[in-house]
């Protein structure tokens, strides 16, 4: 198990991982926020079905989900076919594909906390903002979003961390191409599988420390700006 210095490819994997998690989280927030907002506000009768659908990807093991995504993205799959028809590059084994897979898989971790936070706000602050001349979009950003801060924090942390640790989906549709789609989780996994425990420990340890520092700063920052409930 001896000590081993991290290889260059491990470092590249780290960079790719952070990039993937960052982009995925961003997209998740951009996509999840309006959905969560709509779900928190709508009185649509069949909302409960949509809620169930959103949580659904979770129940499939990630590798299997990745498998189905792979099939869907392949030339015979619906998405792959569509891509071909549109003349767009196919997504399997590309970074973009990774992002799509991760977004799909981590969606519930972002939507659910946001939806809860938006629901908890209630109508009153939005009504007040309206009487003060704020348009719907304006009051969404200046009232709903700040009041839902803890929801955003949770969504971001869960979304980011889950993407960093994600592995099955990413492995399946990423193809583990070093420098492109090899992320840290796969790199660590590879080390463990190859009995290179030393490298695995180093990588895992580094990842944990890094994540801990990141998470800690996020929570620390959060405390500073937190809305104290009375």
């Amino acid at each position: 198990m001896g000590t081993m210095v991290l290889s260059e490819s491990d470092l590249i994997a780290l960079v790719i991982t952070l990039k993937l998690a960052g982009i995925t989280t961003l997209i998740l927030l951009l996509l999840g926020t309006p959905i969560a907002w709509w779900m928190a506000r709508t009185r649509w009768r069949f909302k409960f079905m949509l809620e169930a659908v959103i949580a659904l990807p979770l129940v499939l093991p990630p590798t299997v989900l990745g498998f189905y995504l792979l099939v869907a993205l392949g030339p015979h799959g619906p998405l792959g076919g569509l891509m071909d028809w549109l003349g767009v590059q196919r997504l399997a084994f590309t970074f973009t594909g990774l992002v799509i897979g991760s977004v799909f898989y981590s969606m519930p971790f972002v939507i659910q906390p946001l939806q809860n936070a938006f629901t908890a706000i209630g109508n009153r602050p939005l009504e007040v903002a309206a009487t003060l001349g704020a348009s719907p979009l304006d009051r969404f950003f200046t009232v709903a979003v700040p009041l839902a801060r803890s929801g955003f924090l949770t969504a971001t942390v869960l979304g980011f961390a889950h993407t960093v640790g994600e592995f099955g989906v990413v492995l399946m549709i990423g193809g583990n191409i070093p420098g492109e789609t090899q992320v840290l989780s796969i790199a660590i996994y590879d080390h463990v599988e190859a009995l290179e425990y030393g490298s695995a420990h180093w990588l895992s340890g580094g990842l944990l420390v890094l994540s801990f520092l990141m998470l800690m700063s996020v929570y620390l920052l959060n405390r500073r700006f937190s809305v104290v409930q009375s």
Partner: protein, 230 residues
């Protein structure tokens, strides 16, 4: 009747099921098969997994277990020799000499991670032999194991890939698509070895059964080689 637990490399799933079935029929014992990656099985066995025998996808891990005194000394043997083929589900895509590798404008070539899987190592040797290893770097997608490697090709996301012959060869059926059966001389033999982990009669007799002619026929039927037999 006794019950034994046998850990088996995933690529051998179909074959061992058949063998175990006929073993159960003839002896009345029960064989519980546990499939998984050889790396994981190795780690689990070292940490006390309750397995009686271990059918690895390579020779390295059984040797290690023997050296570490976990496996029963002298019980190790090669139960099958993997054969590598270059395969594509498309007809007439791969020519019988593998010139496709140089000639075709494929986007992705699938192979198993050479670090983890012997089939991947074999693929690496073949490509290196033809001087293609460096040039194909960005076009190679790597499966964590041979099963995943196959799925990359099968789903059409990679046009072709180095897979195990056993994955497309089913007893009594002709192989779909097109393939190049790679001469054994181009790569070091993929010895899949088994060891006994716990000394009990049932396990011993199961290992003997695997070496029997009846089993041999099954193993060959699934496209594996055997010592001295092509």
């Amino acid at each position: 009747a006794d019950k034994i637990r046998v850990a088996v490399a995933s690529n051998f799933t179909g074959t061992i099921r058949k063998i175990a079935e006929s073993f159960e029929k003839s002896t009345g014992h029960k064989v519980i098969l546990i499939f998984g990656s050889t790396g994981k099985h190795y780690a689990q066995i070292k940490h006390g997994a309750p397995f009686d025998a271990f059918f690895a996808a390579d020779a390295r891990r059984p040797k290690l277990l023997e050296k570490e005194g976990v496996a029963l000394p002298g019980s190790r043997f090669t139960y099958a020799i993997g054969k590598v083929i270059l395969w594509s589900p498309q007809k007439n895509y791969v020519d019988i000499e593998g010139k496709t590798l140089e000639q075709k404008e494929f986007r992705y070539l699938s192979l198993a991670n050479p670090k983890l899987a012997p089939y991947g190592k074999a693929a690496q040797e073949i490509l290196q032999g033809r001087g293609l290893w460096k040039g194909l770097r960005g076009r190679m997608v790597r499966g964590e194991n041979i099963g995943q490697t196959f799925q990359f090709v099968k789903s059409g996301n990679a046009e072709l890939g180095f897979i195990a012959y056993s994955q497309v060869k089913h007893p009594g059926e002709s192989v779909e698509g097109s393939y190049w059966k790679i001469p054994q001389s181009l790569y070091s033999p993929i010895e899949q070895q088994a060891v006994l982990l716990r000394d009990n009669d049932t396990a011993r007799s199961f290992l003997s059964f695997v070496k029997s002619d009846e089993s041999l026929k099954i193993i060959r039927g699934f496209g594996y080689g055997y010592y001295g037999i092509e």
